[in-house]
Structure formats: C-alpha cells, structure tokens
Symmetry: C2
C-alpha cells in the first residue's frame, strides 16, 4: 500500500562535524487521509529529511515539526536559499538534539510547498494544481499525515516529538491523538489554541494575498503568475509579530539606511523598512501563496480544548509522555501565560511535565536563535528522558 521510494541510508558524521545529509525523501501514501473537515485527501505525498541513524529497536527516533514558514531542511543547507537549516543551532552532531545519538525526522507539513502535498500540487483527478480546490486542513490532519510516515518507517513509538510555534501545536496534537506513540513531547513557544489577536494578524495576511489581482482566486499557477506583492505584505505584517519591540529597537532603532538624513519621500529611509521589504521579497521566492492561506487557516482553527469537550485537560487524559513546555519572556505572539495553560491542563491529569520560561528579549523568534539557556533546557530534558528510556549515553568525542 505504501511504497518506500528511497530507503533510509546509513549516516556518518563528516570530519568537520557537519552531518551527512540524506537529502529529501518522498513518501507517497496511496490510501486517502480522512480529514477533520469530513473530506478525504489522497493519494498524497510527504517529503521529509532525516539525520542520524535509526537504531535496531527503533527507539531513538525524534520527530521535528516545523512552523508556518519552515520546512524539512532542519540542519542542512537549504536547496533554495543556500542558507543554514532553520534549527541547525539545536540539531546536529553533539548539539542538544544530537544526530550522533538520535534519528531525526522532519517532514514538510501537509499543505506545505516543499514537496509534501499542498495546494500547489497537481490534483491527480484533474491533472492541474489544486489551488482553492485543495481541502482546508487542520493541525490534526498534518499530524495524521505524519503518523502515516511514522508507520511507514516502522516506528511504534517516537522517542521525542518537538517543535516551536505551529510545530508546537503539532506536538500537542501528537501527544493528544497518539498517546502511546510519544515518549517525550516538547511544545515550544506555542499555545493550545490560536488567540483572537493571532487570528486577526493571519486574516490581514490572507486579505493581503487575496487582494493581489494576480492571486486570481487561487488559480495563479494555471496562469503563470504569482501574487508576489500580496504575499510580501502578508510576510511583512507577520514578521513584525515574530520579533519583540525591544529586539526591533536594538536591531534598528530609528537608524537610517545608507543615508545621513530623511529623504522626504516614500523610499525605505529607515533600516527597519529596508529589512521588512527584504523579508517580504525573499519570502516570495521560496513560498507558495496558497500554502500560506491554508496553513494560517489551520493555525486559526487550532483549538485543542474545543476538540476535547472544551476542557483542555481532557486532551491529555491518560498520557504517560514526559512533557517539556518552553516559553520565552518577550514572545507576544504566544506569551508565557498560554504555555502555562498547557502546563495547568497537564497538571490536572497528573502528567509528568517540566515548564521553563526562558528569559530572552528576542520575541517569538527566540526559539530559532542562539539562546544558550534554551539549548541547555532542551539538552537536559532530552538526556534525562534518554536515560529513563534506556538509550545508550552520548559517544565521548576524542
């Protein structure tokens, strides 16, 4: 039923400490997925990267769930941007998520645009891109697709599932819907439901995309155009929410961009304007506008309490997983109080939970940045779980 397109290969660590990267593998699932909307989607494909080696009893698998605009390129050079993978500070040989020790899997989410089936994919029923005929999916649907991949890889239980932001929402769905398949769960900089303010920012982004005449009601692929301007505006608005006001102030303040005085024009006089315009225009080169609509919609729909009779604790009842919930002081997109709500729900069902609020002024993006206290937290928690799970200790480096 499920063909293995590319077998997992043995991974070795190169002399310079950079993991030898398998490259993206695609897993085509023929059996349709039953979506939360009641619709079916299939066949579908999940593209994923792996790092490290799966051990004999398949007990060392770590699933990484990426955020809204992330992808499977966790810790290798990105094939489109040429930049380091988005979590290369956290994941790699000797890193807190040690690829010498764990077998790391990162799938591109369902609805994404880096190889997994999404609105830019060709609908096999019509031979043309789905566009807006792609069904609206949920975070739970993304996890259901990942679960197919994990079954396909023959892994009964993931040693750990971790992710930040929307990745953390997937972690929560894994811990809720697949209780026996998660040994340790690390929801980071996230929430159990999307707040009103966050829905509002997403709606602005979607309206910006849809206001672009080149969006063509989602059918731009068929017409060989791209709603670049709308998607860039959406990215700019969202990007502000990823940083703290302090971070913006320290990074840019009111500094002018390559000029000594204001130009009295609408040029990007200020560095922060120039930075935002750059963020907008480069994003468009690597991301599909319809994917942006579908993924933001999935986040808006996320409400783990509503899925569980309006009682968040019900989502975790019966769990035996170990949880590490992490928030950052200056994150105003998913503020600490939203992490505390997760912790309180876990406490209510007597789950095993650690909670750490990391002091950082970097805003929501802190989970992607060089935050030593964050890395130490993850390393300590994961090593402690590995010891309990009976995984061999890290190999001493010569």
């Amino acid at each position: 039923m499920m063909a293995i397109q590319s077998p997992l290969q043995q991974e070795r660590t190169a002399d310079d400490g950079v993991p030898v990267h398998h490259g993206t593998v695609t897993f085509p699932a023929e059996q349709p997925l039953d979506l939360d909307s009641g619709k079916k989607l299939g066949p579908f494909t999940i593209a994923y990267n792996t790092y490290g080696t799966l051990n004999g009893d398949k007990s060392n698998a770590v699933l990484i769930c990426h955020a809204l605009t992330g992808d499977q390129h966790v810790t290798n050079l990105h094939p489109l941007t040429g930049k380091e993978g988005w979590w290369s500070l956290l994941v790699g040989p000797g890193k807190p998520i040690d690829t010498n020790r764990y077998f790391v899997i990162c799938p591109n989410i369902l609805g994404g645009c880096m190889g997994s089936t999404g609105p830019a994919s060709v609908d096999p029923a019509t031979g043309t891109p789905y566009g807006l005929t792609f069904p609206v999916i949920t975070i739970g649907d993304m996890v259901a697709a990942q679960n197919r991949l994990i079954e396909h890889l023959g892994i009964d239980q993931l040693f750990a599932v971790l992710g930040g932001s929307m990745g953390g929402m997937q972690v929560l769905e894994w811990a809720s819907r697949h209780k026996d398949k998660v040994y340790a769960a690390l929801p980071i900089a996230t929430a159990a439901w999307h707040s009103s303010q966050n829905i509002a920012f997403h709606e602005v982004g979607r309206q910006a995309v849809m206001a672009d005449p080149k969006w063509l009601r989602g059918d731009y692929h068929s017409h060989g155009v791209v709603p670049r301007n709308g998607l860039a505006v959406a990215r700019m608005a969202a990007h502000i929410t990823y940083l703290s006001e302090d971070a913006l102030h320290e990074k840019f303040g009111r500094n002018l961009q390559n000029r000594s005085d204001r130009t009295f024009s609408f040029d990007a006089d200020f560095q922060v304007e120039s930075y935002l315009r750059h963020q907008g225009s480069t994003f468009v080169d690597r991301f599909d506008a319809n994917s942006y609509l579908y993924i933001t919609r999935a986040m808006d729909y996320f409400d783990l309490a509503a899925e569980n009779g309006d009682v968040l604790a019900n989502a975790f009842r019966g769990t035996r997983a170990r949880f590490c919930v992490v928030s950052f002081t200056s994150d105003w997109l998913y503020p600490t109080r939203e992490s505390r709500e997760i912790v309180q729900a876990l406490n209510a069902v007597a789950a095993n939970v650690s909670f750490v609020e990391i002091d950082s002024n970097a805003g929501h993006d802190a989970f992607l940045l060089d935050e030593p206290e964050f890395f130490a937290t993850i390393r300590g928690f994961v090593e402690s779980c590995a010891a309990k799970r009976g995984l061999p200790p890290p190999v001493e480096q010569a």
Copy 2:
C-alpha cells in the same frame, strides 16, 4: 493676506445639551508654508470645526489635535459616517472639555482629506490633484499650518492644546516650537519619537496601498479609481495595533460569526475576522489612500529629540506651560515608558508636569473610549489650569 471665509458665529447650547455646531469652516492661507523638507506649500486651506464661544480676551481657546485617521468632527455627527464625533465623550457641554466654558477649535490636519489641503487636493499650479507631487510633510508642518489658523483667529495664546496618539505629537510640537502660545499642554497616549515597531507597522500599511494596482503610483484620482483593497488591508493591520490582546480576547475570543461550526473555507468564520474586514471596508469610504501614506510618513519622521540636538529636554527648555502627560497601561503602540521619557525630559528642565498612567485594558484606543479615570484626570487638570489662568468657573447647571 489671509481671507476670513466664514466669520465665527455665536454659539448657544441647545436645550438637550448638544452643542450647536458651527459646521466646518475653511481658512484659505495664501502665503505659502515653509516646510521642514525645505519645500514650500501654498496657497493652502485648513478646514476646522469650532464649539463654544471665544471670550472677549480670547483666553479660553482650546486646540484639539486629531490622530492619524481622525478629523475635525470632534463632537458633532460626522457628515460622512453619521456617527458621533470621535471625542464626544470628552468634549461638549459639561464634559471634561466643557464647551460651555471653552472655545474648542479642531482643524483637519495638513495632508488630511476632510477639507484641509492634502494629496487629494487640486494643485493650483496644474489644476489636477497633487497625488505624489504633494510634498512629504512633518508633524511640525502640521503645527505650522495650525499656527497660521490661530493667528488668523487673533488668538495670542491657546489656553490648552490636547490630543491623543498623533494628536499628542502635535501637542509636543506646539509646546516645543511655540512656547509662549501654549498655557497648558496635554499629550495623551503618545511618544516623543516613533518607535521602530511603529515604523514597521506603518511601512506594512504603505506597502499594502502601493501594492494595489489601482493605486497607480498615487495617480488614481485622475483615473477615477480607488485602491480600496490595499487601503483596507493597511487599515486592518493598523487596527490590530489600536487594541490590546485582552480587549480582542474579551470582545471576540474565538467566537464564530453567525455560525455554529467552522466552515472549512476562507470565509470570515471568526467574529474578529468579520470585524476587521468591516473596519477595512468602511475606512476606505471616508479616507484617501494617499493621505494615509503622507500622514503615516509624517509620524515615522517624528523625532522631537533629533530635532533638538538629540536631547529631548532641549525641546522644552524655557517652557512655562503646564503639562499633563497621560498613558494607558495596555497601550502597546505608545507604551507608558514612552510617556515617561517625555516626563523625564520635562523634569530635566524643571517644567510643571503631571503624569498619570490610566489603568485600562482597552489598548491604545482607550483615549477614545469611556474611561472615567481618564476623564476625571483631564477635568481636574484643566479646571486647575483654568483657575490659575483666571478663567471664570463653570456655570452651575439648574
């Protein structure tokens, strides 16, 4: 040189307590204005409303400066929207700014679109709308234009100048550039410079307008079109910043709009989406897109310290005005610390300053809402100033 188009009329209070409103008056200034950019603008027109009666020695004039999307319709029904004036809770007979006692003047700002000269006005040199040939103006330029109006009205000193948000920036410029003309200054929910984050949000709004193909590089008036979609997106993004997360949560939460479940579509399922779309679409009916660009630019350029040798206190050196600085706890656009910076600068030059932080969860918009503690603060400060100034006490109501 300056023609008085419409003489000030005697105002009486109607029996129901609603002030008899003069209607908008226009003041055409023939002498060009020397702008901060070095350019000249003129002739120009300032449209303004007044409420109450100017006393014999012209000592009871109160100038109200409006915010980005405000106008001169402070406390009368708005001619376009039919809604109550934007500060009708604060200004009127018996209100904290008592129109039975004070002569209230509110001009539409230079660059605006409600009768004062702005980018939508016809350039007398060409006979066509200015569009992008309108010069980029500053908050100081807006105040210079208002100063012409005050001279035209024969008022040597304003009893009080007050305004919130961008209105507060104008108050600060008045107090700095026209020290002898301001008896009392009330900068509310504002800052002495526009922060990096605020510039960023404005830049998103401008890019949204400019991305609309109907913007036509600012020349849409000549082509009979309006960049509605872009301006609506700009308004939506800005509107989120006017509210606190708590206010959004309390007002909307994750409530659905006239439906019992998610539609699994891109409809406005959530009330907050519906609300934002409404804010965007109604705004477009009353505001000019180019005005939005020019006014946000003026705000971004505002930096009272930079204008004064990078020392904010220099802006106020020698002032004899009485200041009342007001901030709101949940205002994240102009947080309290930015008001404190103004207060510290005033303290540094031994100015007479009161500072009040009002406890409110309404966000930046609190200054427009029913906030009794805010009203009591304004009333108390203004009455105390009136007593010092020797203005007659309020007339006892029967």
